[in-house]
Symmetry: C2
Subunit: 333 residues, 2 copies
């Protein structure tokens, strides 16, 4: 049996035939540098995002844009604020750029504790990163709550919507009203291009221009550009796939709940699962599954969590079935 990877919230399906074809067709052109700044992709994204190409900035994955934002918008001794638990990529980037990070706990249901956040904001805090839906907790903060926060603070707020294709909720409508808002999106999740590295930012034209001025001109490879543009011409294929993943998520949730796990609401392609009721530590669970060639993500070591949480991607039918079967055996032991 080959290894089942459910630890990186990847799409379990290969790209659409159209996307595979454009990659093959473009392979013979890679002796040439990529088109600068994502080439025609910002244009191609205007219909999908409802924003102008001047408001869109392409990156070598969202990770690239996270670092770019911190690099441009913070000076030495300034700080980043992150409601936790959340995606470690934010503080990894901050650490790499020598910036101090302030953590603020989310509430018991992993919602934002706006009062706590406001209390922690000083003039030194320059950027707040909010994953929405959140990773790894899978929950979605309603837009009106985010709007309230965005309008109450002066610092930049980055809303990371890399699971937008699953949640279908966005604060993009606020861009024109809120000069301090940057949205991040990704082609890695709903559109399954994780291996090619492609993320983008949506913001006002002024901030977008500052990002564009400091990003690498040739940072986004030719095949990622071609694949992403083709995805946007093949949305029906991808929407059907996303619907399938959402259905499979419901089934996987039921299976996990029947085994006695706590499964949290998810607006993503993964499930966040509590193991405490079963008295199973998530580090043990991760290791035990790994020994059986199934990888899930132990979240026990993340700031804001303890050793009773894991995250599993919604895999394909067979992968989900095997995961449930292995967990059923583990519970019995």
């Amino acid at each position: 049996m080959s290894i089942i990877r459910l630890d990186l919230s990847e799409c379990p399906y290969p790209p659409s035939p159209k996307v595979v074809k454009v990659i093959s067709d473009s392979a013979s052109t890679i002796n040439r540098y990529p088109k600068m700044l994502g080439g025609l992709l910002p244009d191609a994204l205007t219909a999908y995002t409802g924003k102008s190409k001047e408001q869109i900035v392409i990156g070598n994955g969202s990770d690239d844009l996270i670092e770019l934002i911190i690099k441009i918008f913070t000076h030495p001794n300034e700080q980043i604020l992150i409601p936790i638990p959340s995606f470690p990529g934010y503080w990894y980037a901050a650490k790499n750029l020598d910036k101090e990070v302030i953590f603020v706990n989310r509430d018991n249901e992993f919602g934002l504790d706006i009062d706590s956040i406001l209390q922690k904001i000083t003039s030194k805090v320059k950027v707040i990163f909010i994953a929405n839906p959140n990773n790894p907790t899978a929950n979605l903060i309603p837009c009106h709550i985010l709007a309230k926060l965005i309008q109450q603070v002066n610092c930049l707020i980055v809303v990371d919507e890399c699971y937008y294709e699953f949640s279908q909720e966005t604060v993009a409508d606020l861009i024109d009203m809120c000069p301090n808002l940057i949205i991040l999106r990704s082609f890695s999740k709903g559109f399954g291009l994780a291996g090619l590295r492609l993320g983008y930012a949506i913001t006002n034209a002024e901030l977008a221009s500052r990002l564009r001025n400091s990003t690498q001109l040739f940072g986004v490879n030719t095949l990622a550009q071609a694949a992403a543009i083709t995805v946007l011409t093949d949305l029906e294929y991808y929407y059907a796939q996303i619907e399938q993943i959402n259905k499979d998520r419901t089934n996987l949730r039921r299976g996990l709940e029947q085994l006695g796990f706590d499964v949290y609401p998810s607006a993503t392609n993964f499930l966040f699962v509590g193991t405490e009721k079963l008295n199973l530590s998530s580090s043990y669970l991760e290791k035990s599954l790994q020994n059986q060639d199934i990888h899930v993500k132990n979240c026990g070591m993340l700031p804001g969590l303890d050793d009773f949480y894991f995250r599993t991607t919604v895999g394909n039918y067979k992968e989900n079935h095997i995961l449930l079967a292995k967990l059923a055996k583990m519970r019995v032991q």
Copy 2:
């Protein structure tokens, strides 16, 4: 006629059939994240570089590594030193990271003026970038001169050998003796993978580890990894191609000299050309060729040069022929 691109020192030929095949074959796997830190590529590079995989760091193009080096090894108010004329990517990256740049002129033949460099070095200078062969001037500094400089200074020296496949000269032998040396290499030039973005650094294991600790885990895309590993199994194909380009460079040089241009010695896949003797400004020349769908690089605006220098890639036979024909006409006018 389609546009002839001789402005980016690209390889004029598509990748080898083996490389095209591995890209097509890997296209269906890009729903998965790339292997971290370039995956198996550091292993694959050990034979080619003669260094251990612990001494190799993979980046999303050399541009990525240039920025990574500045990010890690300079603090606020510290400086970068660059002998000019040289590759603008160094000061572009420094500017993006808010670092001050000190330029030191090269000598009349674009060699290093070691005394001038030593005079400009203070405790604030943390990194020196030396392209070797140099871009855009195409000349090669002999290794023993670089060795002298490297051993005389305390700061880091980055020797950018992205044209190594053409020059076949390297300071890699000094890595084990000089704790302040980082070499950059690229798959964009001799190996023609510019569109996929792949550069690498060679240095001692300690510096390599620091670079690796601050780079993006998933920064190098899956298809770049697969293509580069395959290039290294197909070196005879590429060496034959490089030999062809070197021969074509000789012919292009002769043609340009016959037209009265000054052509500088080249250890690269491009030629650096002086236009002053013909009383032709390089900005005019660039524009005039561009109007005829041929792109060369005007170097007149680079610090350390004036409006009488351009750079042209050695294209394929037909491209070089057309370039010479157009230049012959321009000279007559």
